[in-house]
Symmetry: C2
Subunit: 343 residues, 2 copies
């Protein structure tokens, strides 16, 4: 009999529990705890848990694996809370979105830090709580595994097994790498969605803007619906990396503005748009990572490079057109501006 | 018998045609033309068109309504091409994403500019072409109607009827208003998606980043899959407005960075995140526009203000926690930095 304790039975914790019950060994017993007892009860009603424990320590006692599935800042508190209840063989992992701080806390708070391995399943939703949980949430997603320098092999193996059992693909990284990459691909985009939505919402024209908003704006701002407690914890535990990427994004926006206004080189703007659409098509069709680049089925996007793409059909035609028309458009615009000034 | 000519049988033109055939009067004949004859044939095979015309002028001749469903820059060319074939009663409209230039072209190129009324259905997809078309594409979407100062009442009524027949809600605006609002809610977000995707794609760490990317990043960058010809035309016909909003967005990102780094006022960051999530929930549940604000069913989001929201349950608890913990976290971080410097 293996006993697994899940602390925090929100979207991630409950989804892990559901996946373990559906796909794991039959002799696993899952004990859950949440600081809101009705949240834990709901997870139990969904069939995720065998038992609900009244305290985190009670859930941990006698468990082989402890999963801390709470927002980053709550991880520190939970570690302090369970420290005295942990046995010498219990493996501990977390699912937090940032890792450097978590590993620092584990080293200083846990009695057997060698049995701690950080984890971050790269899946989520903006809906949260046990009701939003699904056993297939992690299917095909990466599960970043972040061992400490002194992590035991057994602890690493246990967490890798957990990742694979829930349907994810394990991927090793150190904490600094993880936090920098996660800032780029997840935390900064979330903050950018918050910035975009709050900026538009604050506009005088919001009644008109919101009425005109179509699927594109909805998609771009969906992440601003992230649980604010989670977003806050991510922000304060990964400040430097998020700041770095927010700055890079801001300056990329200004570069694009310059390119849009560079009326003498409209062909360059078109090439950028076409190259981005081309690369995005590859990404959308699963050309990601390193290994996949070699083995991916390229049939859908065509096994050719962007320069082949530029040389062929529609794109080169549009490019010729852009270059040819650019001069006359420039002239017309100048004339229009002149006329306007004369009025 | 009413004859409608659709010039450009891509996603929008074909979707309009399908909606007109499914929902319009039975005595409507739809003639289509596309500069790529196979694109028009595909639209016909999908049941969107009664006839395919070989030239734009041929499609227009004898038509009661002409719909120019091509990217902005192509509208100018089409107007010049069809001018001599237009009868004195034919109403002309377009579906272009920008309107000031289009109205300027109509005034100078069309023989009866009083029968032109600009239009912009606020719906779309990043997949394009007649295969992606659907009769329900415009259901519930706004359809911006942009009359010129001298537009005839009959022309306006005709285009409003068109909008309603395809399932959309008409919304009047002048061209300058439209272009400024469309830049804010549609064009700039599209360009921001291009900037975000191309920036991440250009990173050395793209193999890792792309593997780690989850649904959030996919949503945020979906618009970078927009047809580059369309994106280009939008950029060059709405340069000033897009530039303005790109700058505002860039500075909003830097403001947010400052807020994330303001370690003495973490409560403010939390309030911003919570307020944004709250407002976004309202938006997601259909609280948009002016009229809807009054009439909307608030049951799902709760009919209370954000300050009520802050005062209640989870949010205020987290806020208390944030404020309480902030100081100790600050101390811990300083200590950590000091230790690091001493190493």
């Amino acid at each position: 009999m293996t006993r697994v304790a899940i602390l925090g039975t929100g979207l991630i914790g409950t989804s892990i529990a559901l996946a373990l019950r559906e796909r794991g060994k039959s002799d696993v017993e899952i004990v859950g705890h949440d600081k809101y007892v009705d949240v834990a009860r709901k997870a139990q009603q969904r069939g995720a848990l065998h038992q609900v424990a009244h305290t985190a320590a009670e859930a941990v006692r006698g468990s082989d694996l402890v999963i801390l599935a709470v927002p980053p800042l709550a991880i520190e508190k939970l570690m302090a809370e369970i420290a005295s209840a942990l046995g010498p063989d219990t493996v501990v992992t977390d699912t937090g979105s940032t890792k450097a701080e978590v590993l620092r806390w584990a080293a200083s708070l846990l009695p057997y830090p060698e049995h701690f391995v950080g984890g971050h399943p790269m899946a989520g939703k903006t809906t949260f709580g046990p009701d939003a949980a699904e056993p297939g949430l992690f299917d095909g997603a990466r599960y970043v595994i972040v061992p400490a320098v002194n992590s035991s092999e057994r602890a690493v193996t246990t967490v890798v097994n957990l990742a694979e059992t829930v349907g994810a693909k394990p991927m090793y990284m150190d904490a600094a790498e993880h936090d920098s990459y996660a800032a780029a691909i997840s935390h900064m985009p979330m903050m950018a969605a918050v910035a975009l939505f709050s900026m538009e919402r604050a506009s005088e024209a919001w009644p008109e803007l919101s009425a005109m908003a179509a699927g594109g704006f909805r998609d771009m701002t969906r992440l601003s619906g992230t649980d604010p407690a989670m977003a806050f914890d991510i922000a304060v535990t990964n400040r430097q990396n998020i700041s770095h990427w927010l700055e890079r994004f801001a300056s990329t926006l200004l570069d694009l503005r310059d390119r849009i206004n560079d009326v003498d080189n409209e062909g360059d703007l078109y090439k950028l748009l076409a190259a981005t659409e081309f690369e995005h098509t590859g990404f959308r069709n699963g050309i990601v990572g390193r290994e996949e680049k070699v083995g991916a089925d390229l049939s859908e996007v065509g096994a050719f490079s962007f320069s082949d793409f530029l040389a062929g059909g529609w794109v080169s035609e549009k490019l010729r057109e852009v270059t040819k028309d650019s001069e006359s458009r420039l002239k017309a615009l100048e004339e229009h501006d002149r006329n306007r000034r004369n009025v």
